[in-house]
């Protein structure tokens, strides 16, 4: 893909857009995969004060290289605190100290409910997916949830096969009532970043396209979403990655192109 003189991939645009959305946030729970590179990019650009929390038990990581997994030894050396998982999930996440939980998904619906468990029937699955890991509790207890995933008809679906992590349930009104009555600390999903654009949630709790990435089209967006997606009246154009953002991804964070192919 081209933008002015610079070329970049859809994955690079997605990672950059997700990183930028972290501006102003203090404490972020880092998930495996794309969230990992996006959060590490944010720490080097828009959110240098961001405290990285890894579910493996790390608060305030300062990884010297891009962690290969969420349990890489580089997230431990030089961190502020390393604690047991009962403390990480109990004293940090469930206590309400996490501003942003960053999730990926196999399926998402218009209300931001997420499936990472199975495609098909639970007892006789067509495809067995990884399951919750910490996602279910992150969705409930992090102050807000960012989702990062590629768009496709298989992933952006009208009805998910299994609800692993609650989003806005059947809509904002229901979700807000249940969160309030149940004493949830989280306010649910706030941003969905894909390879085509950036979505936020409207008053009804439904995803709405707010910004279209360079090179992406509304047709491409509609073709890869299994419901009639809402488009913001003042749809923005996502600024392309800067030279510095691309340099950080390509030279420092992912020189082997694992995430950005």
């Amino acid at each position: 893909m081209m933008s002015g003189e610079m070329t970049f991939s859809k994955s690079e645009m997605m990672i950059v857009a997700a990183a930028r959305a972290l501006a102003g946030r203090q404490v972020c729970f880092v998930g495996v995969g794309l969230p990992n590179i996006a959060v590490n990019l944010a720490k080097r650009t828009v959110a240098p004060e961001l405290e990285l929390v890894y579910e493996a038990g790390v608060f305030g990581a300062r990884p010297a290289r891009l962690p290969l997994s969420i349990g890489d030894p580089t997230i431990v050396t030089g961190a502020t605190a390393v604690v047991s998982m009962v403390e990480l999930f109990g004293y940090y996440l469930q206590r309400g100290l996490i501003d942003v939980g960053f999730l990926g998904a196999a399926q998402i619906d218009r209300f931001g409910n997420i499936n990472t468990t199975v495609i098909g029937d639970y007892a006789h699955p067509k495809t067995r997916l990884p399951g919750s890991g910490g996602a279910c509790e992150i969705a409930i207890n992090a102050r807000e949830v960012f989702v990062i995933m590629r768009q496709s008809r298989r992933s952006f679906v009208d009805a998910i096969d299994f609800r692993t992590s609650p989003g806005n349930l059947g809509g904002a009104e229901q979700a807000e009532r249940i969160r309030r009555e149940g004493g949830w600390l989280g306010r649910g999903p706030s941003v969905v970043v894909t390879d085509l654009g950036i979505y936020r949630f409207d008053e009804g709790g439904e995803m709405r396209l707010e910004s279209l990435h360079p090179g992406a089209t509304l047709d491409a967006v509609r073709e890869t979403i299994g419901w009639e997606v809402a488009i913001a009246a003042d749809l923005a154009a996502t600024p392309p990655p800067s030279g510095e953002e691309l340099r950080l991804i390509r030279e420092e964070l992912d020189p082997d192109g694992v995430y950005t192919k």
């Binding site: 290969l68 969420i70 890489d72 998982m85 999930f89 006789h124 495809t127 349930l169």
Partner: protein, 308 residues
């Protein structure tokens, strides 16, 4: 003074892991005892229930080898790489003569299960599972009302493994065990268990342990065997000693996609080797050397003070 619990891996697994047991090889990405997993395969243990937050490659290998009838877990994958083919084939019904029962939680749910086991509690309460399908899929996740009239949360039952196996940087011959870096839920899994096997990089004098008692995660009191097995966590890692062998995690992805290649790998790397020493020799000194940390990062020493 203390009786030595040092044993070979062969003896420890033979004496302490029994057919039908619930076995937890714990360690969250860090300190995963592949050495114990391989020995369990070699000894052809059967009908095990395997518990672990992230089954990882070690359980994919064990399940491919037919040691287990059931898996208790919270995240099923090859972290940062892909899927676990051997487990998936059995779950998705591709091998109907080798069924695998699943019992599924979230990470905090699994951690809570071990914690309830470690504390001898009938349940562990947590604010997970609201408005999800997990309690439907697993009826052991149950609602519990607060006795203070402020709502209902969820509970998970205690998990009490027959055997917990953990890898650690060091232990004394009596089993007092210290770990630094990620702690995962090894402490909880060990206290929850009936029997405990500790596998270590290094056997140290009790005085080394007693010099820094805050670093002890497991006391010898609950340990049944100490196995000295340097590199026993490969291809996972040991903080300060060796890095994750990411090449192996990547290599596993195509191997596990096919049952035949998986079984061939097991023959070559497990059944045809008589123990960890042969495995390390086969890996080669160069491969191992490449996994050493790029430098040292000392913790520094603190003073506990002598009080006589």
């Amino acid at each position: 003074m203390t009786t030595s619990k040092v044993a070979s891996m062969r003896d420890a697994v033979r004496d302490l892991v029994r057919d039908g047991d619930t076995v937890a090889i714990e360690g969250f990405t860090h300190l995963i005892s592949f050495a114990a997993g391989h020995e369990i395969i070699r000894q052809r243990k059967r009908e095990l229930t395997l518990a672990r937050l992230t089954p990882d490659l070690v359980y994919d290998q064990m399940i491919a080898a037919g040691v287990a009838r059931k898996l208790i877990f919270s995240w099923l994958g090859n972290p940062g790489v892909g899927g676990l083919g051997a487990i998936r084939r059995r779950v998705e019904g591709e091998l109907p003569d080798q069924p695998l029962e699943l019992e599924e939680y979230s990470h905090f749910g699994m951690v809570g299960r071990y914690t309830a086991g470690a504390m001898n509690l009938p349940f562990f309460p947590l604010r997970s599972y609201f408005e999800t399908d997990l309690p439907v899929a697993n009826p052991l996740i149950r609602p519990i009302a607060s006795p203070y009239g402020d709502g209902t949360i969820y509970a998970v039952p205690p998990l009490r493994p027959d055997v917990t196996i953990v890898h650690a940087q060091r232990a004394s011959a009596g089993g007092d065990t210290q770990v630094w870096g990620l702690l995962g839920c090894q402490k909880e899994a060990a206290f929850a268990a009936e029997r405990v096997i500790v596998v270590v990089e290094e056997l140290v004098d009790e005085a080394v342990i007693r010099a820094d008692p805050n670093r002890t995660i497991i006391p010898g009191l609950i340990v049944d065997a100490v196995v000295v097995e340097p590199w026993g966590a490969h291809p996972s890692y040991v903080q300060g000693v060796y890095d994750r062998d990411n090449r192996f995690y990547l290599d596993w992805d195509p191997i596990t996609r096919d049952e035949a290649t998986t079984q061939a790998w097991l023959r070559e790397w497990v059944y045809e080797l008589d123990g960890r020493a042969a495995y390390l020799e086969k890996l080669g000194a160069e491969r191992l050397a490449s996994l050493r940390p790029s430098g040292s990062a000392p913790s520094g020493s603190v003073d506990y003070g002598a009080y006589r």
